[in-house]
């Protein structure tokens, strides 16, 4: 050991420092650009991250499953009893309580997200900044302007419209840059085109004729200032690089050369960065971009079920009745079902059923109209069921129907359903539950809640080890991730 270890380390450190190839800000920026634009490379981030939501959501699903199973078990009878008790407790005057409740829905076909709030066929056009693009040699000729447009077009058939749109743009010398097509109940296709700025207006007009133009936004961003600025900065940088190169020829000292070279490298990278940015802008200026969203023109099927009742049996001749009816126990009652087509297309395959009366479409009397035939918009079909009342009841009726197009085919992916109820009361209302009965019901409610809680706990107990394992894994991972 001739030389002190500290001195050796110091000298070795100098050697290492001389070998260090520093990471410049530009390199970091370039890398960031690459990782951001290169979508094909999946990010390394999501590894165990899914655990963070998977564990709680798994637990929620488990509990939901349990609740669903329990719901179909006798416990639910208790709940039903409790709720009926609660219903009865606050009903001072029986007639006012019950009213027919009814909801209708036509999933997936009602709203058009593209033209939110605007009535069909109304064209919304907003022009952001300057006037539409040039016809050729207008004053905008030597300005740098980025033209963009977004439009939404409703069409009868999306795939053919895609072909048409592509043909229109290609005939104008444009290119299809991207396409995102989605099938399912609401087929849509989003197309991205690039066209020459001179053809921008023609392309918009052409695309608008493919179907019904719902929305169109176009904008023109004047980037002339940016371009001029970039150009001047580039020429400055070029001049400075040239100067430095000359300087390098005259520099004698090694240290001077190194210094100049370092400076030169900095300037050159800066120059490249500026040039790259200018290229990006030039590319955007030279081609205008149009984004077209093609949607199927939407119809609005809707139907409504109304359930009423009246005393007596006359094969439905007195339909409709009222939504609440009071009769003496054992009397005959007729329940009427009205399905009204409130949409703008015909509906077919109308089915009505009731879980309380235990009737299906086939069991019902056709009073007016035929549920098996298509029902045109605005018309109704009446059905009736004749029953004998032995207790108070609230019907639970459901309706479903299929909207059909003019051709007679069902409109794919759309169906209508609705539910409604009517109330039949008996004249001798059941005795109001007294304190004793109330106490009993409360006790039962408490007991069933306890049963539910213990079942949930019991179901989760066998999985305790899993939670513990996950916990350990997380702690371990965090420890491992801690630096040195």
């Amino acid at each position: 050991m001739t030389v002190d270890l500290e001195r050796q380390l110091d000298a070795y450190g100098d050697h290492l420092t001389s070998l260090v190839d520093h990471v410049s800000a530009d390199e970091a920026l370039d890398r960031a650009e690459i990782t951001r634009t290169d979508a094909a490379v999946p990010s390394r981030r999501p590894r165990l991250r899914w655990l963070r939501w998977a564990v709680p959501s798994g637990a929620v699903v488990l509990v939901a499953l349990l609740a669903a199973t329990l719901g179909s078990m006798p416990v639910s009878n208790n709940f039903a009893r409790i709720s009926s008790f609660l219903d009865g407790a606050d009903s001072e005057s029986p007639v006012t309580t019950a009213a027919a409740s009814e909801t209708t829905s036509a999933p997936g076909t009602t709203a058009d997200p593209g033209s939110s709030g605007s009535p069909d066929g109304v064209l919304q056009e907003s022009t952001d900044t300057t006037a539409p693009p040039p016809g050729g040699s207008s004053p905008t000729a030597n300005r740098s302007i980025i033209y963009t447009a977004d439009m939404s077009v409703a069409v009868a058939d999306v795939p053919t419209a895609v072909a048409e749109a592509t043909a229109v743009v290609e005939s104008l010398g444009g290119v299809l840059f991207g396409e995102v097509t989605r099938g399912g109940p609401e087929p849509t296709s989003v197309l991205t085109f690039r066209v020459l700025p001179e053809r921008f207006e023609a392309a918009l007009t052409g695309l608008g004729t493919i179907g019904e133009l719902r929305e169109q936004n176009r904008s023109a961003d004047d980037v002339t200032d940016t371009v001029v600025d970039l150009q001047s900065r580039i020429s400055t940088a070029e001049a400075s690089v040239l100067r430095l190169r000359e300087l390098m020829g005259t520099a004698g000292d090694v240290a001077d050369i190194a210094k100049v070279e370092e400076e030169l490298l900095d300037r050159e990278t800066e120059l490249e960065r500026l040039r790259g940015r200018l290229r990006t802008i030039d590319a955007q200026v030279s081609m205008a971009s149009i984004t077209v969203t093609l949607r199927r023109a939407l119809v609005n099927p809707d139907a409504r079920l109304v359930v009423t009742a009246y005393p007596g049996h006359d094969r439905g001749a007195s339909c409709p009745g009222s939504d609440t009816v009071s009769v003496t126990q054992g009397e005959d009652v007729t329940v009427c079902f009205e399905v009204r087509n409130r949409g703008d297309v015909a509906i077919d395959d109308i089915r009505v059923s009731d879980t309380v009366l235990e009737v299906e479409t086939a069991d019902l009397i056709s009073v007016a109209g035929d549920p098996a035939r298509p029902l045109p918009p605005g018309q109704s079909v009446f059905l009736a069921a004749e029953i004998e009342v032995d207790r108070e009841l609230r019907t639970q009726s459901r309706m479903s129907a299929t909207p059909i197009a003019d051709s007679g085919d069902a409109i794919a992916g759309s169906s209508i359903s609705g539910q409604a109820s009517a109330v039949v009361m008996t004249d001798q209302p059941e005795v109001q539950p007294g304190f004793r009965a109330g106490l009993g019901a409360g006790g039962r409610a408490l007991r069933s809640a306890a049963v539910f809680a213990s079942l949930v706990a019991g179901a989760l107990l066998p999985f305790t080890w899993a939670f513990v394992l996950v916990g350990i894994a997380m702690v371990w991972r965090r420890r491992k991730a801690r630096p040195i």
């Binding site: 290492l16 800000a25 530009d26 970091a28 977004d150 961003d221 940016t226 990006t280 971009s289 630096p483």
Partner: protein, 163 residues
């Protein structure tokens, strides 16, 4: 869609200007601190990864008291993901300009435990103060001192044994 306006470009500009300043300030420290853990080449990669992270999380980082320390941790986790637990490689000392440096020094350094190696290098080779080391690595004053002494003793033993 890429709708680049003059305004966003301008914002990006000032942002990248401050970023360049930030890199000039932080990069040398970060880089040096990582050499001890990962060796020359991998340390460069880890530094670059951390700087990319810094750019992508610029707002978050700008509000931090000690962004260098945070980036050091980012670099460590990223490097661990990229390289696993790899033995760092150190270049041999140049025999012509400093012949009195033991040729076995790099190997002896590589055989040290990671913390000791990092600290010995930072203290004795790069000449950092203990406060600087604490700021970047997040280790306490006492820990730095302890690891430095132990690392040096181990190095001495390793080199003395061979000599």
């Amino acid at each position: 869609m890429g709708r680049v306006t003059g305004v966003t470009l301008l914002q990006n500009d000032t942002r990248s200007e401050t970023f360049i300043g930030f890199v000039a300030d932080v990069e040398p420290r970060l880089h040096a601190a990582l050499i001890g853990s990962w060796g020359l080449e991998d340390a460069r990669e880890a530094t670059a990864e951390a700087l990319v992270y810094a750019w992508e999380h610029w707002e978050q980082l700008a509000s931090m008291d000690n962004p260098a320390g945070y980036l050091y941790r980012v670099a460590q986790t990223r490097a661990r993901r990229l390289f696993g637990r790899r033995q760092p490689a150190f270049p041999p000392p140049p025999s012509d300009s400093m012949p009195w440096v033991e040729p076995a020094l790099p190997a002896a350094l590589a055989s040290l435990p990671e913390r000791q190696r990092v600290i010995v290098l930072l203290v004795h080779s790069f000449g950092w103060t203990q406060a600087e080391i604490s700021a970047v690595t997040g280790l306490s004053h006492g820990t730095v001192q302890k690891h430095c002494e132990r690392g040096l003793a181990k190095l001495r033993a390793a080199l003395g044994g061979e000599a």
